[in-house]
Amino acid sequence: MKHWTDRRRLWFYRGLVLLSTAVLVHLAAVWAAPRLIMQMLLRATQASGVQAHNQAAFPAPVTAASRSIVLPSPDLLYSICMFDVRHGPVRVTANPQLPGYWSIALYASNSDNFYVLNDRQAHGKPVDLWLVSRDSSAKKQTVPPGSEVVITPSATGLLLMRVLTGDYDAQKTLVESARHTLHCEAV
């Protein structure tokens, strides 16, 4: 670079700064942000006193006081489970017999949705999932008959069960009993 003029050197450093900034912004937006959002969500859940580590929890219906997520849907009842398969599989069962929409979705620690099942796909059959990490294939041998093996891309993550209710006061008994069929436990 000793033959470079000051002007060419200046443009080289400008290009270097631009490239470094682009790489950092890319890492922040594409890699770090989803993980950070998931961490914030999990911490907010713990801070609110909800015990959901490898167990199902049933937060109260969304109201004007709900401030953890923007644009919360008042038409959905949520059940959650923060799964952790580091020490073994986690079994998830549910049997929400409802005429309307419900779904169970699984999110990895980077907030990627890697599994979803809704009422139409379930065809009225009970849900029975066996969550295992990628490196615990040997555990598959203990899978109960009828249980669906789901390999989680990360050791920890979030299960979100959504139950639709357009008129909670009128449908409370039905939808509350449906969402309380969710069980989530380490095996």
Partner: protein, 97 residues
């Protein structure tokens, strides 16, 4: 007309993107609560105070407003071409206070 979906809802949010303290927790109009007229259409008014007999979706009245339309299990044709959605029409009935 109701959107071509198994279920739908229209939710009112304050300009901070959260729900606000609506009377009777009337946060949304949806496929369960909307009443269809003889033409199979629904109507509602939205604002800080009820103004007529139509379904009323309360709004804060002291700031901006965001109405969110959600469709659950949209019909296959709509899912294949979301831009063909005919959203509900909105007409202003009076001046803002």
């Amino acid at each position: 007309m109701p959107p071509q979906a198994r279920w739908w809802s229209i939710t009112a949010y304050a300009d901070d993107l959260y729900l606000f303290d609506a009377p009777n927790r009337a946060y949304s109009l949806n496929g369960d609560t909307a009443r269809l007229d003889m033409r199979g259409q629904f109507e509602f008014t939205t604002g800080p105070a009820r103004t007529d007999e139509r379904h009323w979706l309360p709004t804060p009245g002291n700031g901006g407003l965001l109405l969110a339309l959600r469709l659950y299990n949209p019909e296959p044709a709509l899912q294949a071409a979301p831009a063909t959605l005919l959203p509900p029409t909105i007409a202003r009935l009076g001046d803002c206070p």
